[in-house]
Amino acid sequence: MSDILTNALQLLVGDSLPKRPLKKLTERELIDLESAIGRELFGPIPTGHRREFFCLDAHTWIWYEEWAEAGQPKSSTTRYEVRPNGILKAQDGQNYKFIGGEELKNLNLAVRLYYEQTMREIYKRDPYTGKPLSHRPPVTI
């Protein structure tokens, strides 16, 4: 009986029933998935480099870069803190400064691209409305 009801409901609303396919993933695992998108936002990654770019929490973005120099492993972590009065940038835990102008504009662009792509590809939601993406083909007349 419930199968009939489910089928009837699917016929009525299609596949747009709210689903939570990522239910079993922790926030840490979701961040790893997001970072796979984030690291590609700034173009090709040089050979031998490892890059991560992700939103850590509601106030923090992280850019991590790792590479080898003369056989020695090197790394750099840039932290962007979202504060009410500006975006504070710290490289490797020092040189705190508020960013502005072109750098702030570029960060905003990266954040928007990150949001749009993770919403579509990971959370399967429309980035503008937040509604689950429908898998139904568009209606044609």
């Binding site: 939570r20 979701l30 939103c55 979202v82 975006i87 905003n108 928007r112 990150y114 949001y115």
Partner: protein
């Protein structure tokens, strides 16, 4: 005609520290030498201090030669700031305002996007 500078000494003057000032400075601040700065001046000095962290400004809490001299410096900075502002073209000022507005918009965008993303992540996570 050449401007002549007279060097005066303040009570408690220390030659080694070079605490001296010229007659023009004395005339400028004679009215304030013993009195507290006016409320309007205090407001202006605070404004300078807010935009220039290195400004040495005393608001008249102490009445010493050092405080007097620091106040002279503050007034000089205020004067220079006014001259600089007057020289800036209208276009420059408009550009500064627009850049500031763009920065504010970018900050708001980043903050809102970050919060929205974290909300969805929390909603979807185990």
């Amino acid at each position: 005609m050449t401007e002549q500078t007279h060097i005066y000494r303040l009570p408690g003057h220390d030659e080694r520290r070079g605490d001296s000032f010229d007659v023009a400075s004395l005339e400028l601040s004679a009215a304030r030498a013993e009195a507290q700065p006016s409320q309007a001046l205090k407001g202006e000095l605070r404004e300078v201090r807010a935009t220039d962290p290195e400004a040495l400004i005393d608001l008249g809490e102490e009445d010493t030669a050092g405080a007097f001299w620091r106040q002279q410096e503050a007034e000089q900075r205020l004067l220079e700031r006014r001259q600089y502002d007057a020289k800036r073209s209208r276009e420059e000022r408009y550009a500064a305002i627009i850049n500031g507005m763009e920065d504010a918009d970018n900050i708001t965008d980043i903050a809102n996007t970050t919060i929205a993303l974290c909300n969805y992540r929390t909603m979807e996570a185990a």
